[in-house]
Subunit: 398 residues, 2 copies
């Protein structure tokens, strides 16, 4: 065990069995990861915006950036969350991050010691679960309906934990186009969830990174738009409306948390170069660009729903999400999709395993399919291929 | 204490008294921070490189980047550290970071629990000290000479700690153009320091972020170039040869540490946008660009040394550094420069306080002056102004 020679030097919260997993090559049809569409990534526009930005303020790149991110960019975020999410906040309460991944990482670092508990929707974002796990958190999953986390179930879960002497460190919720389920929380439900977090005096982490991609239905203001949200941390992302490769997101942090979050965040301000490019592009084109994206993704959703109807038939349960980038498919209880994934990969198509999104319950009979990346033709061809694999493997009836 | 309402939810290592310090406005003459020169920041070239990169692989920005950073960029780093620093490493052992700040943060996170001890040069980089402090580390400073950390003093310090039952978590050293002292560690000294770390089986963190900026003297290969360095973490930076605003650095991590470092680093890969721009620029122009920079900074160093000779006279001790971006000035023992800084700022000039670089000893009679940012004329004018302030305040003789 030569490689473990220095493990005794590690901090208490570093997992002693860490391994590097090289990312596998992407197969022809990748429905596993929520990539956006490369044809709608504004490459030329961002390059041009950067050129303008560098003319105006390129010399300032020799300075170390403001630790919360460029002021003008934080102001743009304020305008955006005010308009779309109803959140009234000044730039002094915004932290620009290297995408949602970093936001989740920072917030988890702020709260979680090994053995602590986090409450979340029963199924939730696999990337968040990986971070929570790495910090040694236990998950407590709450039942869901088409509006997401069910208030009574949340209350019951917290009370159940309390009887064991456990106070969860925070409630993690994705109210809008919940990942992976696609549920959409009403404003009324948001009020109820906030009220529960206030009643029990537990911090609440609202991950709203899909909110821009609404195809239909009313836009519900964020939980962070409600009065008295000094216990609410809100995070948003530009990964879905620009591109993940830019690594740009933000946190809205009330004064109760802001200085502490900054204390766990030294030296990791995102590139000013990228911020300037995004700033100059978005301040002219944001709403128009998002409108174009939602129209395009709506078509892709409909296309994938149609293909699943055609090739999977009535053996799967599926709810058409009102936005976001994925479908959540439920197979009959006895089905186990996990061992099929390597076979499907071999044939050129991959999907997200239900279990990677589960806070505890067996989710062998769930998969997540993302429709953001492929064009319509490839979407249909990939879903057909996947249905063939599932049929050959006895997951779907012949 | 409304703002402390949720503090009981924080992780154990989060300081309970965190505050946000808004950066102060920059005065006319800023000798406090090691900014590079805005006239030599290749703004247009980086923009053009990005354009080429986006043509080639812009569509790949829709993918989530490799967690260690773009392979081609890691390969460029390998080539660079092989040529300049003698380090033979493959891209699988490189982690691209958002600058030295993030490298220091990650490595500290990997090792340090509150109350742990870090050994370093007696005077060292203030930014690193801030991160160490935030993670609750105690510092143990080692005496220095013109080659940096003195081997016998290092051995004595470790043995002294051992008698108290303390094993330091790592040795932090800046061998090349040590910040703030400017010392330059010979290859022989590096072998001795490594041997001590191996003898006591303590990890060693070699921060080499100034190594590119050598004005004179032999280039000494890095500690990480020596055989049997499975206890050595090496970090480098592009902040000094491109610009801090890009936020780009790297860690060379042996297998003993690599997977654990990646486990503390989820979701914080730097922007692919910035990486592509730097990649396409550096792979064509790196050596030529660095040569231009060192010639320019050498002139600035000489200019500031001359101005200090003229305006400060023989009352300060100073050693001309062979590279880097700063001078370390020692005033007579009785002097206290700390209360003068706000007065100097008022007059339009600032400097780095010796105490911010100290691991413990009183350093009231030291200042650090950076010569990277201002042009020659402003350097002379700023040093003259500073000497006037020091004279008025009794720090220098009338």
């Amino acid at each position: 065990m030569k490689d473990k020679k220095y493990n005794s030097f590690f901090a208490n919260n570093v997992p002693q069995n860490s391994v590097i997993n090289e990312p596998l090559p992407r197969p022809k049809y990748d429905f596993a990861v929520a990539f956006p569409d490369p044809d709608h990534f504004p490459i030329g526009e961002l390059h041009q915006s950067l050129g303008e930005a560098l003319k105006d303020q390129g010399r300032d790149l020799v300075f170390y950036p403001h630790p919360q991110g460029l002021l003008e960019f934080r102001q743009l975020v304020c305008k955006k969350v005010k308009e779309n999410r109803g959140i009234d906040v000044g730039p002094e309460n915004i932290i620009i991050t290297a995408g949602s991944g970093q936001s989740i990482n920072l917030i988890t670092q702020l709260f979680v010691d090994p053995g602590d508990t986090i409450v979340s929707e029963k199924f939730t974002y696999s990337g968040a679960l990986r971070v929570f796990e790495r910090f040694g958190a236990q998950m407590a999953g709450v039942d869901m309906d088409s509006e997401g986390m069910i208030p009574d179930s949340l209350t019951n879960k917290i009370e159940e934990l309390q009887t064991k002497g456990i106070t969860p460190k925070f409630i993690y919720t994705i109210p809008t186009f919940q990942n992976p389920v696609g549920s959409d929380m009403s404003f009324q439900r948001k009020k109820e969830i906030l009220a529960i977090s206030k009643k029990f005096e537990i911090p609440l982490f609202e991950d709203d990174c899909y909110a821009d991609l609404r195809f239909e239905g009313d836009n519900h203001p964020a939980i962070a738009s409600l009065p008295e949200t000094d216990n609410v941390l809100y995070s948003g992302s530009f990964s879905k409306i620009l591109a993940p490769g830019l690594r740009l997101g933000w946190i809205v942090a009330p004064d109760t948390f802001l200085p502490y979050l900054m204390a766990v965040n030294p030296g990791t301000t995102p590139s000013q170069f990228t911020i300037l490019s995004a700033l100059y592009f978005l301040r002219e084109n944001m709403n128009e660009h998002i409108e174009g994206l939602t129209n395009m993704f709506r078509g892709k959703r409909d296309c994938m729903l149609g293909a699943i109807g055609e090739y999977f038939g009535s053996e799967v349960e599926i709810i058409a999400p009102k936005g976001g980038l994925y479908l959540w498919l439920k197979f009959p209880e006895h089905v186990d999709v996990d061992p099929i994934l390597p076979i499907a990969r071999e044939k050129g198509v991959i999907y997200g395993l239900g279990n990677t999104f589960s806070t505890g319950d067996n989710a062998n009979n769930y998969i997540r399919l993302c429709y953001g990346y492929h064009n319509l033709e490839d979407t249909v061809a990939g879903i057909e291929l996947l249905s063939n694999v599932f049929r050959e493997q006895g997951i779907l009836k012949p």
